[in-house]
Amino acid sequence: MDIGTIAIQLLNGLQYGLLLFLIAAGLTLIFGILGVINLAHGSFYMIGAYLAYWLSEKTGSFALAIALALPAALLLGLVVERLAISFLYQRDHLYQVLLTYGLILIFNELQRIVWGNDVHGVAVPAILAGVVEITESQSYPVYRLFISAICLLVAAAMYVAIHSTRIGMMIRAGSSSREMVQILGIDVGRLFAIVFSVGAALTAVAGMLAAPINSVYPGMGENVLIISFVVVVIGGIGSIKGAFIGSMMIGLADTFGRVMVPELSSMVVYALMAAVLLWRPSGLYGVKA
């Protein structure tokens, strides 16, 4: 590989990692703060993608579709939290796994009933449709750069929100003691509902942004579920910073793994996770379990 190709592969890895981060951030937030293992997380990704497809068909504008889909995703997160997840906070992980697995089945079927079985494509908005020529043989799609920028922006916004706002402090406090936060007069139920809803919406946004480059298809949520869990675990549960580092690692490992050790590429990310856990049993930035 020449330098130019390596640079582009680096870019590929980072871009893939950034998209993974957007999915994993919501998961680690829900995981770390609410203590809920949410297998249905991938379903929000799928729903986001379908909303983007459906609304851009209806409205003819991708931007407008996202503007409409975002509040819809927040609302959906809120409804799911109230109807199902809120019963799980004090329960064992096992039951969380079981219930959210049930939710996957329900969401998948609802998707089929509402949107059918076909694979759909979403057009890249015209202003972002071009490519940037990098070398004479290599070029890079503008839309992917756009996604990376958005993901970086979201990452920065999350960092600020978690570390410097009062609600961020409440959220961090709530992750160590739900009851103590309540004792201080803060409505934990509402706080948790917000966290879940935001986490779900972040994932849905990832699905929306990915819709034009990904196709939109049944079962797409499950494909990202396992990999986003891998990211969260590598980074350490509950750590946004960890999720960021973890997704960069997975993005790069996956990208270079394919090119450099193609025959082992399917195992690379799992081997990486196993190695990280053997070195640090609670992930890179996890609190010791």
Binding site: V97, L103, V230, Y270
Partner: protein
């Protein structure tokens, strides 16, 4: 594991008898379907050993199931083995070895991380077979000749026959159930159950818990391989999908749905799950919606699975069935423990412990003589608990030495230190709340066996262990309460039980972290009396805030401030020390 209520046991027995008749009265399809269920039940029970009894939630259990099938397929195709006598043991050995390797690596993590690392290893195995060209890749491959059991030239049975396979699966199911039932009542079973309830405590009692977890992981892996073997025999076909995360998830569903930690629950779960899939998939194209709804409903409405529902129904029917056990004789005989001849029995040299930037214990050198009561006092944050945690092995020192009878034990694991004869009690009472006081002590006493890796004889038959447990309870005045659950005891009694448990491990040196914390005056007096009695034949090191208690019981006193020892020596001498008065006792003495 609590014994099964009679009504449920009878129901299960009837069910087994009924199932034995299926090949005689049922159609071929039902024979096949129920065989499938048996296999799934064995698989689910093997996972329940991990999830429900050892507290290890594996999300990669299907790897061993799939491996069982692949071993058979490879042995048959590449080695031409068709004898069950060869393929079955070989398969189990393969599964055992692989689970030992994966388990050895995985048990270093816990909780969700354990879930994920088992998933990671399973996915690697999955991709190995999925990508490999030699084994059919994602299309899977066939077992063209099914195993036979033969002696010489006489074929005893061939698994080609469906009814034979059915009975074989039923027998395997029953044997697996019987084996696990026995296992859980054995000393080994007691230990894994205990470590599920309270891992830190079990380690502090002297059990090398990682070894127990590993053995449990291997047993579960072998049993899953057995299920996979049967499944492969049934259809003569193996595919990497059998070891994928969906299969791991599916069997986990079966276990939780049925009720984990009950053994019979997963079996019921297998029946319900398969029959429900069979029923629902015929109803509507959108049957997975119904399945999802069912799963959600189970979680919300049946918090302990189907088994939980049955148990609570049976519990209501026969509420008075239990607890009529007689109290064994109580003879408060003080068992003699030789006083250590070495002096000092324990010594720290320049002991240091650092936490990210903070030096909690700073070059502490103290000698503790055998047969004495030593108190360590100091304001909060002085490093007392850190010191005790290093002595008991909960924390590894950053630097320095700990010499016990001349041997440097710094950095040893808590279980190894416990087995040397150093017992400890915790600041926050740390018991097995669901077990009875006697069982709490029995586990403790069991830790003095050379090994609890005994799998068949019930732990209740270990007479010497039971005696030791009873003696310890009697000594702490808990004889009459030995059958009460630890969670039902009063605060003071729980603290006594904590001491009894340590006594049951027959330590020479006894570390106590604030034994009087949270006690009222009356309870404090009782505990103090107990400690005085214990001190007659043990060396005691205790941390305590209650100065009156300390002065009443201690022979020597060590005062720590900010990680340093500022004074150590006989109580009166230290009390008179100016520096100590200024730094700690301060106005208190002046007020007296």
């Amino acid at each position: 594991m609590p014994p099964l209520p009679r009504s449920i046991a009878i129901l299960l027995l009837i069910a087994v008898a009924g199932l034995a008749t299926v090949p005689l009265v049922g159609g071929r399809f039902h024979v096949q379907l129920v065989t499938q269920i048996f296999v799934l039940a064995v698989f689910a029970m093997s996972l329940d050993l991990l999830v429900g009894f050892t507290g290890l939630v594996s999300f990669g259990h299907a790897a061993f199931y799939g491996l069982g099938g692949y071993s058979l397929a490879i042995l048959t195709r590449d080695f031409g083995l068709v004898s069950m006598g060869a393929t079955l043991p070989a398969t189990l050995v393969v599964c055992g070895l692989v689970s030992a390797a994966i388990g050895w690596l995985s048990i270093r993590t816990s909780g969700v991380y354990f879930i994920m690392i088992t998933l990671a290893f399973a996915q690697m195995i999955y991709y190995f077979f999925n990508d490999a060209r030699g084994y059919g890749g994602s299309d899977g491959f066939y077992i063209l000749t099914k195993p036979r059991l033969a002696i010489g030239d006489v074929t005893l049975l061939t698994l080609q026959d469906r009814a034979t396979l059915y009975y074989m699966a039923l027998v395997v199911l029953l044997l697996t159930a019987a084996f696990l039932w026995t296992l859980l009542r054995s000393p080994f079973g007691q230990v894994i159950t205990a470590l599920q309830v309270n891992e830190a405590r079990t380690r502090a009692l002297g059990f090398p818990i990682d070894r127990y977890k590993l053995v449990s992981f291997c047993i579960a892996g072998i049993l899953a391989g057995l299920a996979g073997y049967l499944s492969a025999v049934q259809f003569g076909y193996v595919n990497p999908a059998h070891m994928g995360w969906r299969e791991s998830g599916r069997v986990l569903m079966v276990v939780i749905l049925g009720g984990s930690g009950t053994l019979f629950g997963p079996v019921l779960g297998a029946f319900v799950f398969v029959l429900l899939e069979d029923l629902l998939s015929g109803l509507t194209e959108h049957w997975l919606l119904l399945m999802g709804g069912f799963v959600v409903a189970v979680v919300l409405l049946l918090p302990k699975g189907i088994a939980g529902l049955l148990l609570s129904a049976a519990g209501r029917a026969a509420k008075s069935g239990r607890s009529a056990e007689t109290h064994p004789d109580e003879q408060p005989s003080v068992h003699a423990i030789p006083r250590g001849g070495v002096d000092p029995i324990l010594e720290t040299v320049d002991l240091v412990r650092q936490f990210a930037g903070l030096i909690a214990v700073n070059r502490v050198s103290v000698k503790f003589s055998a047969g004495k009561v030593h108190a360590v006092i100091g304001p909060n944050g002085a490093g007392k608990t850190t010191l005790i945690n290093m002595l008991s092995g909960e924390l590894a020192p950053t630097g320095g030495h700990i010499r016990y009878k001349g041997r440097d034990i710094a950095g040893w694991s808590p279980d190894a230190i416990s087995r040397l004869g150093i017992g400890r009690s915790f600041q926050v009472t740390n018991l097995y709340p669901s077990l009875s006081a006697f069982e709490n002590c029995r586990i403790a006493a069991q830790s003095r066996l050379r090994s609890s890796m005994r799998f068949f004889r019930p732990a209740s038959r270990l007479g010497a262990v039971a005696d030791r447990a009873h003696r310890a309870l009697a000594r702490c005045g808990l004889g009459p309460r030995s059958q009460d659950a630890a969670s039902a005891l009063s605060h003071g009694d729980r603290r006594k039980l904590e001491i009894a448990m340590v006594l049951a491990t027959e330590p020479e040196l006894f570390l106590l972290d604030e034994p009087l914390a949270g006690m009222g005056a009356q309870e404090s007096r009782e505990i103090l009396d107990l400690l005085r009695a214990v001190a007659r034949d043990h060396t005691l090191i205790l941390i305590e805030h209650d100065m009156d208690a300390v002065f009443a019981i201690a022979d020597t006193l060590t005062v720590m401030v900010n990680g340093h020892v500022i004074a150590t020596g006989p109580v009166d001498q230290v009390r008179a020390d100016r520096a100590v008065q200024d730094a700690y006792l301060g106005h208190r003495d002046a007020a007296e």
